[in-house]
């Protein structure tokens, strides 16, 4: 049987990543390569970064006039090798424009750049940051270029990831008549709250309306799509994320006290304020517990003030933004992982905690709650319940062992291979492929 050809549209992709989206796209593509021929168009790729079985096209390497790949070798000096987006930047951050209009793509956009390679001139898509600046213009130009390029490619399905690529997806669908699948990793409603009405929300709504099939990363997100975007459940097909295997390790903790860990951006969505409240409640009952908060974001100052106001600074530590190694170190000394997210489409970090055999105390308002039976789940506003769980799991070994043992069983059902199978199942169920 012929492998179906999938044209994916992504925004973040390793090595240019900010959060989970890039890693998720990368790992999903790799797993899908077993079932399909995948071509991935992204705004920016490193020509050195080659992914086996995946045809990866960065628009920064495409001459917009010929639509041919530019052969850079090492002549294109302007490309930074690994480009991490500053972590304090809220992903997908945009100015909240309230009127929804899709601007005409401007080929003379500030984000197009003439480059000279050897004796040849090429005009390529060039953005420093994926987010920040005029994201709407970036998204528009990306859509224009990607749809021009797509007409030279052969594929059966368009598979777009999140709102940044929805415009491209819609345009390619219009030009080619191929079905559009939108993979939903995160929504404006998660990030900005349920009253979101700005440009991004409108883009998401339009994109999801025009899509033939939606693949949110959880039932939780599927419900949001239905409730806040008015999309029919019949075209929603949730696909839970997978996770990369890691080798967990333990490090001797420098603290005598048990340690409770929070990892995430300090933004409303992640519920960092609740973490402070929970900590204060736990310390009321058991003063021998430490709380570590890794991450940074727009709420950092408020968190600091709150910690001081509750007078728990001696047991509550803000670690700031940490790289992967440091996060893993913290996982290796932590006794409990706490994720009080207000609205979490999936919540990979909780699964990472499970990989380190740490009991996870997580909010029910998360996708990961659907795949972890072995977790203690509370409503994000229920501070007392969360404190109760933390105290119980710290003080009671049997509960600790039971939760972690059950979670290890859950881990067997969380993988990108399972996710890729599910994506293919969705294509078939909705008759996008035979």
């Amino acid at each position: 049987m012929r492998k179906p050809k999938i044209l994916m549209l992504g925004w973040e992709f390793p090595p240019v990543i900010n959060g989970g989206l890039g890693v998720a796209c990368h790992d999903l593509c790799l797993a899908m390569a077993k079932h399909a021929k995948v071509t991935m168009i992204i705004p920016k790729s490193n020509p050195e970064f080659v992914v086996k079985d995946l045809n990866l096209i960065g628009l920064n390497t495409i001459d917009s006039r010929t639509l041919k790949q530019v052969n850079y070798k090492d002549e294109y000096k302007t490309f930074e090798d690994v480009h991490f987006i500053p972590s304090e930047l809220n992903p997908y951050y945009t100015e909240r424009k309230n009127t929804f209009a899709i601007p005409a793509a401007d080929i003379n956009s500030q984000y197009m750049k003439e480059v000279r390679i050897g004796r040849k001139q090429a005009k390529v898509f060039h953005i420093d940051d994926l987010y920040g600046g005029d994201v709407i213009e970036k998204v528009t130009v990306f859509g224009e270029l990607a749809s021009m390029l797509a007409q030279t490619l052969d594929f059966d399905i368009i598979h777009a990831h999140d709102w940044m690529t929805m415009l491209a997806g819609m345009e390619i669908k219009r030009l080619t008549g191929k079905p559009l699948v939108v993979h939903v990793h995160s929504l404006e409603v998660d990030r900005g709250g349920v009253n979101s009405q700005g440009w991004v929300y409108q883009m998401e709504k339009r994109g999801m309306e025009e899509a033939d099939l939606l693949m949110p990363v959880s039932n939780f997100t599927g419900n949001i799509i239905n409730e806040y975007y008015g999309i029919d459940y019949r075209k929603i097909f949730p696909v839970h994320n997978g996770i990369r295997e890691v080798k967990p390790f333990r490090t001797k903790s420098p603290y005598e006290e048990k340690t409770v860990l929070f990892v995430g951006r300090l933004t409303r969505q992640k519920g960092p304020e609740y973490f402070v409240d929970i900590a204060a409640k736990v310390l009321e009952k058991n003063p021998n517990v430490r709380f570590i908060m890794a991450g940074t974001g727009d709420m950092q100052n408020r968190i600091l003030e709150k910690v001081a106001q509750k007078q728990i600074g001696h047991r509550f530590h803000l670690a700031g933004f940490l790289g992967l190694d440091k996060v893993r170190y913290l996982l290796s000394i932590a006794d409990v992982y706490c994720m009080p997210s207000v609205s979490e489409p999936f919540g990979l970090s909780a699964v990472e905690a499970v990989q380190f055999d740490i009991p996870a105390v997580i909010s029910k308002q998360s996708g990961v709650a659907e795949v972890l039976s072995g977790a203690l789940k509370f409503d994000f506003w229920d501070i007392n319940q969360a404190a109760e769980y933390i105290l119980s799991v710290i003080e009671n070994n049997i509960l600790h062992e039971q939760v972690t043992a059950d979670a290890q069983k859950d881990l067997k059902n969380i993988s990108w291979d399972i996710a890729a199978n599910r994506v293919m199942e969705g294509y078939k169920k909705h008759k996008l492929i035979k």
């Binding site: 009952k285 039976s373 007392n384 109760e388 769980y389 105290l391 119980s392 009671n396 509960l399 039971q402």
Partner: protein
């Protein structure tokens, strides 16, 4: 003359509330009175009342030829006293017909036989006294919590003076034989074991409303024809099930009451068939072989063993803990403490802690008043911490609060006792 023997289990636990670690030492009222009352009301309206009326009607209609038996736990009787005396009265009415037998069990529907034989005896006696008080009959046949059974239990029960005992007809112990004869438990002299015919019982209790079942919809005449097939090869078909099958597990809209309405007539159409209560079955038929249950068996889950209550460490720990204070509770000679302790022994508490997410988990979830087995365990252990401190001051966690005894007739939360030292 093969007999059909119906036994219905009637039980409700005193569910404990979301008892927080912050309540320990401060609040000694553990029950979720609101929920207990709500469930009692719901089950009364959907099951107990309509089913009892149906049974009464059938007994009258068939002029003594339709007979059934019940086992009512002490805790469900207490809840009827508290919340639904009208339901209790209909059971009394049933008893007066002379066609209904009430069986013996542990008052608290507990696992006490596994942990404390003295407590087991105390509970069985307390239960039988309560049954005699209301129904004017002394139980002669015993059934243990969830049909938990082994040879040792049969021998123990025989010594206590019972002539029959109910148990599950477990395939692996029947070695290819059918469960439709009385059997003699290994290691006993005269007591007889009645074995549940789980296939026919479950046709009613579980499959009745299953639209994917090839026999759906099941009608009384079809079911009676399956019963009649036993003619010539068995003495008794034991149909044992939860009473909540009628109206609660199988809703009225499934036609379960109509099915029951026709069933006695359809079964009695065959002149060789009759209905008998467990005592009559024991008096009528001889044991035709032995039943050797070395290990414990039960009627729960697909394993038919103890894993529903003892399958994980949380359950084992909680059980071990509640029986670890036996001596202190008994020594206190305090009736209130004994009652609270008894209620904490009810098997349901441990059933809710089951982590069989992956097999029979759905059934456990359906019956659980909690969000997760961890909640069940956490609340239970918090309660235990408080109770232990009351029973053994200074032994458990620090608690300076003095216990205010829990009043038995506590309607809802209003009488919740709070101590603020």
């Amino acid at each position: 003359m093969p007999s059909v023997c119906f036994y219905f289990q009637v039980h409700q636990p005193f569910r404990i509330r979301h008892y927080s670690v912050f309540d320990i030492g401060k609040d000694h009222f553990y029950e979720d009175s609101e929920k207990n009352k709500w469930i009692m009301d719901k089950v009364s309206e959907k099951c107990y009342l309509p089913a009892n009326y149906k049974m009464l009607e059938l007994i009258k209609r068939h002029k003594g030829k339709f007979k059934i038996s019940y086992s009512l736990s002490g805790t469900v009787i207490e809840q009827m006293e508290l919340y639904r005396p009208d339901v209790l009265q209909t059971f009394v009415d049933l008893a007066k017909t002379g066609c209904v037998e009430f069986l013996s069990e542990t008052y608290y529907h507990s696992l006490s036989f596994l942990y404390n034989k003295d407590e087991f005896v105390r509970q069985v006696k307390a239960h039988d006294e309560r049954i005699e008080h209301y129904f004017k009959q002394k139980p002669k046949v015993f059934r243990n919590t969830e049909l938990i059974y082994n040879n040792e239990l049969a021998a123990f029960i025989e010594k206590m003076g019972y002539k029959g005992i109910l148990c599950e007809g477990v395939d692996r112990l029947l070695h290819g034989k059918h469960p439709n004869h009385l059997l003699k438990p290994v290691g006993t002299k005269s007591i007889k074991a009645l074995l549940k015919n789980y296939r026919l019982s479950d046709d009613i209790a579980f499959r009745f409303s299953d639209k994917n079942w090839t026999e759906w919809p099941l009608h009384a005449d079809t079911f009676a024809s399956w019963i009649h097939k036993v003619a010539g090869s068995g003495d008794v078909i034991n149909l044992f099930m939860d009473y909540e099958t009628f109206g609660e597990h199988q809703w009225e809209s499934t036609g379960i009451f109509d099915f029951m309405d026709h069933l006695p007539r359809e079964i009695l159409k065959h002149p060789d068939f009759n209905f008998k209560t467990p005592s009559e079955v024991v008096d009528t038929y001889n044991a035709r072989g032995v039943y050797d249950a070395h290990e414990f068996v039960s009627w729960a889950d697909s394993e038919r063993d103890l894993s529903a209550w003892l399958g994980n460490n949380m359950q084992q720990e909680a059980l071990k803990k509640i029986y670890s204070i036996s001596d202190d509770v008994v020594a206190s000679d305090n009736k209130d403490l004994m009652e609270v302790w008894g209620k904490l022994q009810t098997s349901d508490h441990f059933y809710y802690m089951s982590t069989k997410f992956w097999s029979d988990g759905d059934v456990h979830k359906y019956f659980s008043p909690y969000n997760s087995p961890y909640d069940a365990y956490i609340f239970y252990m918090n309660v235990f911490a408080d109770f232990e401190a009351t029973v053994r001051p200074g032994a458990g966690k620090k608690s300076t609060a003095k216990r205010s005894t829990v009043k038995k007739k506590a309607p809802a939360r209003t009488s919740k006792k709070k101590d603020s030292e």
